[in-house]
């Protein structure tokens, strides 16, 4: 177990290192930098001013120096300064994280509440009309862009009850009911999409488990079918669902870009897009590394959780 964990952490460190190179090079490949963008919006270029700004931001140094400098500071927890806002990058990134995490967690809760029961029903009623209907509805959820669904939800609300979502972020301490609505609507749109994944995985896992001997034993002992399904079978079928929750959480941290934009929520992904268009290297680089860390950690947590939930799982070296 310990060697397994050490090995996984080693691979994780390697992946993060590679990721830092990839993102650094990609950003430098992107045409233009913050100075170009500042001047293009200002409409006036003064070469000496330009050189001065580049020098101040350290953009005049050789690329490898910039890279080593970034990594060296990152290792001691210094994320550098945003080019655009002249603030420490950490101060900008920190308030974004709870917004995105709240939205992601809320969406996942909705997804599990919606997806697991429908998956069970679909499996129990395999190949009936109900099963087909549920599968089509869930696949539809997987096919709709969730940001579009969010837009449609807003449109319907505006048309029916004349309610317009707040244009700015409302913190929970300020006005909790409004905050809750502001998060619940996008979470519904996103959760519907993720619930499709939960439903499919629950259905297939349950179908597989239902064929096992211990289920036959439970039935032979005269257990009610309800108990057999919901307590005996689901307990084992839920394992793959845990994996999907982990994958989805990582996906949502970076994947809520447009949903956050549509609902004006100041989250990680929305800001990432803005920072990319501003060529705000420190913000983009560190946000991407943050997302990569979340992906790695949630994968690792899921794998570790597997050992706890399923005693059959052993971690070999």
């Amino acid at each position: 177990m310990k060697t397994y964990l050490a090995q996984r952490l080693g691979i994780a460190a390697l992946t993060l290192f590679g990721m830092s190179l990839v993102i650094f090079v990609l950003l430098r490949l992107a045409p233009g930098d913050i100075v170009d963008i500042l001047f293009s919006t200002g409409g006036y270029v003064n070469p000496s001013e330009r050189v001065a700004i580049e020098k101040e931001l350290g953009l005049d140094r050789p690329l490898w120096v910039q890279y080593v400098d970034w990594i060296r500071h990152l290792c001691v927890g210094d994320l550098g300064k945003s080019y655009r806002y002249d603030l420490p990058a950490w101060e900008i990134i920190r308030p974004l994280i709870p917004v995105t995490v709240e939205l992601a967690v809320l969406s996942l809760i909705i997804a599990v509440l919606l997806g697991v029961p429908t998956g069970v029903i679909s499996a129990v009623r395999q190949d009936t009309a109900l099963d087909y209907a549920l599968r089509v509805v869930s696949l539809a959820g997987l096919s709709m862009p969730s940001f579009w669904l969010a837009m449609v939800i807003i449109l319907v609300l505006v048309a029916w009850i004349g309610w317009i979502p707040p244009v700015t972020y409302v913190s929970p301490w300020e006005n909790f009911p409004l905050h809750a609505i502001q998060f619940l609507l996008p979470a519904l749109a996103v959760g519907y999409r993720s619930s499709a994944l939960m439903m499919r995985i629950t259905r297939s896992a349950l179908l597989e488990v239902m064929r096992e001997d211990y289920i036959r034993t439970a039935r032979a002992k005269g257990q009610a079918e309800k108990t057999v399904i919901w307590s005996h079978a689901l307990k084992n079928a839920i394992l793959p669902v845990v994996t999907v929750i982990g994958i989805e959480f990582a996906f949502l941290i970076g994947g809520l870009v447009v949903t956050e934009t549509v609902f004006n929520l100041p989250g990680v992904a929305r800001f990432l897009v803005q920072a990319i268009s501003w060529r705000d290297y420190p913000i983009v680089q560190n946000l991407v590394m943050f997302i990569a860390v979340v992906v790695i950690l949630s994968n690792l947590t899921v794998d570790m959780l597997y050992g706890v939930l399923d005693p059959r799982v052993r971690y070999g070296s």
Partner: protein, 303 residues
Amino acid sequence: MAAEPATVEVRLPGAAGAQVSREGIVPTLARFCRKKPLGAAGAAIMLAIVLMAVFADVIQTHDPIATEAADTLARPSATHWMGTDHLGRDIYSRIIHGARVSLMVGVGSTIVASVFGGIIGLLSGYVGGKTDLIVQRVMDILQGLPLLVLALVMSAALGPSIPNVILAISIPIMPRAARVIRASVLSIREFQYVEAARALGVTHLRIAFRHILPNTVGPFIVLATAQLGSAILVEATLSFLGLGVPEPYPSWGRMLSVSAAEYAQKAPHLVLFPGIAISLAVFGSNLLGDALRDTLDPRLRGA
């Protein structure tokens, strides 16, 4: 397919190919429709979208990029079946032409990703050892970010154009293709007929491409159809954010973008129709992908 010698086909572990060649294409299709009605529906949707894209110039009612200042934000009517946008462009004609862009980017990036990912997976799995280890770590890095985030950064770095969008979407998908193909290569590599080929002195390259590659066709098709839907979705998202397909090509994602959101309350058809188009295209490829997976790869059934 019928020209292939039957003896070769019979040995395939995934017997799907053999059935097609013996039965002929029409009965096979009929059986597919009967057994997989949802898959057939998906195929029908995709066929309709392909036809729409191919005959876009014929079935359009207006020029998709011609603006008309006098007729902006018009509701759906007899002249403008799906209304007009804020510049007076005909939504119906734009959606028809948007199918071209969506399919081109979706199919293009799926093909690029599966071919390159497939070759990487094939060689990595066949060669094994240190090469395999290094290739797998590189794939890990590319998979370390959610598809959308990597595609976002990629398309920003490459700049907006159709080939660049295809590249930006295919690179994050590539590791998935490589992984699936590698996994099936690892098992096929151990088959006796591969050993026999090696004993006969067949070169490694020939074994890999001539003897192993054809047997990965099942997972390959399954993978490609499964990725098509997400490629179309990612294109729509990138275009929505202004990082995807540039003007003047009509793209479903861009039709939904800021301008549509701005006028959404006055003209809900601006939001409705492009979204339905995206959803239908992704829905169709998902249905088809599911059915193909069940048919070609029973091990993955229902996953």
